[in-house]
Subunit: 139 residues, 2 copies
DNA sequence: ACAATTGCTTCGAGTAACTCGAAGGTCAAT
DNA sequence: ATTGACCTTCGAGTTACTCGAAGCAATTGT
């Protein structure tokens, strides 16, 4: 089964621009061209792209991803380094999730605070709304 | 209590460059200067900065954050719009956490797969290591 | 007392990872 | 034969930093 760049973009939830960018930067080394020079993507390319999207979304730089993909093409000798890279990415992602959960609770506070303000929509005190926020955030 | 830009950077876990960037872009409107033109941060500035860091980390653009902070200075009339903004950010962040958890499980697969390869470190089949990864990811 | 160091300042350039528009080629359909 | 849909490359633009250079002020070392 083969796909156009637009089909791939659709399937992966990224832009055609990004796909071309990744291809230009050597991260999709097996993508073929048809008679009109158009990119032709196979399922195996989608799997590479899936890894790229996963690693980008979890904060790995394009350069590091390229290095990882190069390692994957260099055979089993590189498994330990790839293992270390994924271990690091695992830790980074866990940390990122924790951070986001922390930030989410800050945002939840804001939402609740505004909801309250709107419910009993008196000006509700002489304090500037700014200070009210601060107290809401700080305790 | 007042702080230098380096102290603030340390406290907030961001760079002095970022802090100057936010200040230049009008997101820290209350920061004062001392006799030598150096920025002087008060606790109230740290609270603003805390909100900025939270919103940036959860994917809000600098421009939107600026708008949000402008609203906060415009008084209680803007509470409904601020509420909507925080609601949206709440949803975005929940989604982002979910996506990260999905990506994390993909990475976990990789880690486990490499760990196995290293444990019984025979070349373990005639398949290129690449295809092995694919099967590991796909089932 | 004077030089060196420290720590801030601004300004302008550089970077990562896209993002987009213009100009152009190929092909199917009207 | 031309229109429209898709694709291409190329180069410029964008966001959010990131950094280095040059400069000023206060403190520290000799």
């Amino acid at each position: 089964m083969s796909y156009t760049i637009h089909e791939v973009a659709e399937k992966m939830g990224i832009s055609t621009y990004s796909i071309r960018y990744y291809h230009e930067h050597g991260m999709l080394p097996f993508v073929q061209r048809d008679a009109n020079n158009n990119r032709v993507f196979e399922d195996s390319d989608l799997e590479w792209l899936n890894i790229i999207v996963c690693l980008r979304a979890t904060g790995m730089s394009v350069e590091r991803i390229k290095h990882y993909l190069d390692l994957a093409q260099d055979g089993d000798d590189t498994v330990p380094e790839r293992y270390e890279m994924m271990k690091e990415q695992q830790a980074r992602t866990l940390q990122e999730i924790q951070d986001l959960q922390q930030h989410l609770s800050t945002i939840n506070f804001k939402v609740d605070h505004y909801a309250e303000l709107m419910e009993n929509h008196e000006p509700d005190s002489f304090l500037p709304s700014d200070l009210q926020q601060k107290t809401a955030v700080n305790q």
